[in-house]
Subunit: 188 residues, 2 copies
């Protein structure tokens, strides 16, 4: 017949990418299996195919990469598009916030009040940034280490920041003496 | 014609309700304006109507109350249903979490470390609960005051809790002397 063929709806796959891969860009090879029409235009065989995805530095979650008509072939329809959707792979150390990455430093109350030097990791395992604090660090304090975040998609030479947040560990108990002295010091 | 009439899609309105109203139950009167068919079954007039909503204690956000066929009348369609959807009116003091309400107490670092008594308000303006703390309050500490939360919808005599969280205000600065003493006390 000469009826117009309709296309199957797109087949979507999530593609989890690490922050390190987003930082540098990466190439992912995804193997798919699909039905391919034989030359009789009726029977099909299964074929494997490798689709190559070129992940650009700074790509955001939700970015879609479409491979047109790579779905199953049938005699009567147009094969579906295959779509990969970029997702952030959960990172053990960092959380993403746009082109910034968030690092939560665990410090003691003593360090928060009396000062400390924190070794802040970056996405480059060979690089650590030192953050010196002489002021009081409050639970809401944030410090920015510029230029070690993720690249801007349009201008990869421009990078976001590492935003350092603080998880301040309080002592579990203090003695009566300690408490009295503390009350004196923090009288104001 | 004898063609079957179709119904217009439901008309949804958000209905903002305070936590105090959820706690006790309340009656809301909502005035709507609607087109009503005249006796000629063709021309319409505008009529106001008051819909009464009986809010039961403990109702959750998203609860829907439907008034069937209270939308505009037309010669050719079935009037739409009018639907009210319960929303929490933002509260200056409390946040809702199921049948619990969350209260964030602002305390100083001194109070967090040395103990304090906090006056915790309730949804009943005439009632305050005293919360005594002799232990260290950490930024993650939560304390429960049972029975002053919101009623359970099915059994209004059962109520949730007030969950007290803490926002610990650190000093902005400390002197070098204070810092040295603090470092001594918090050595462990």
């Amino acid at each position: 017949g000469t009826r117009k063929k309709t296309q199957d709806p797109p087949i979507e796959h999530e593609l989890f990418v690490s922050l390190e891969e987003i930082a540098t860009g990466a190439t992912k090879k995804m193997k798919i299996s699909r039905k391919v029409l034989n030359s009789d235009n009726r029977s099909t065989r299964i074929e494997d195919k490798v689709l190559t995805i070129d992940i650009k530095p700074g790509w955001k979650q939700g970015t879609k990469i479409t491979f047109p008509r790579e779905g199953d072939q049938t005699p009567t329809t147009i094969p579906a598009d295959i779509v990969f959707i970029i997702k952030d792979k959960p990172h053990p150390t960092f959380r993403r916030d746009g082109s910034d990455i968030i690092y939560t430093a665990k410090i003691t109350l003593r360090e928060a009040l009396c000062g400390t030097i924190i070794n802040v990791p970056t996405l480059d395992p060979s690089r650590v940034r030192k953050l010196q604090s002489n002021d009081i660090i409050k639970p809401t304090t944030e410090k920015r280490l510029t230029g070690d975040g993720l690249p801007n998609t349009k201008q990869p030479s421009i990078r976001g920041d590492i935003v350092v947040k603080f998880d301040i560990k309080f002592p579990d108990t203090i003695s009566r003496d300690q408490r009295d002295m503390m009350a004196q010091i923090l009288r104001n």
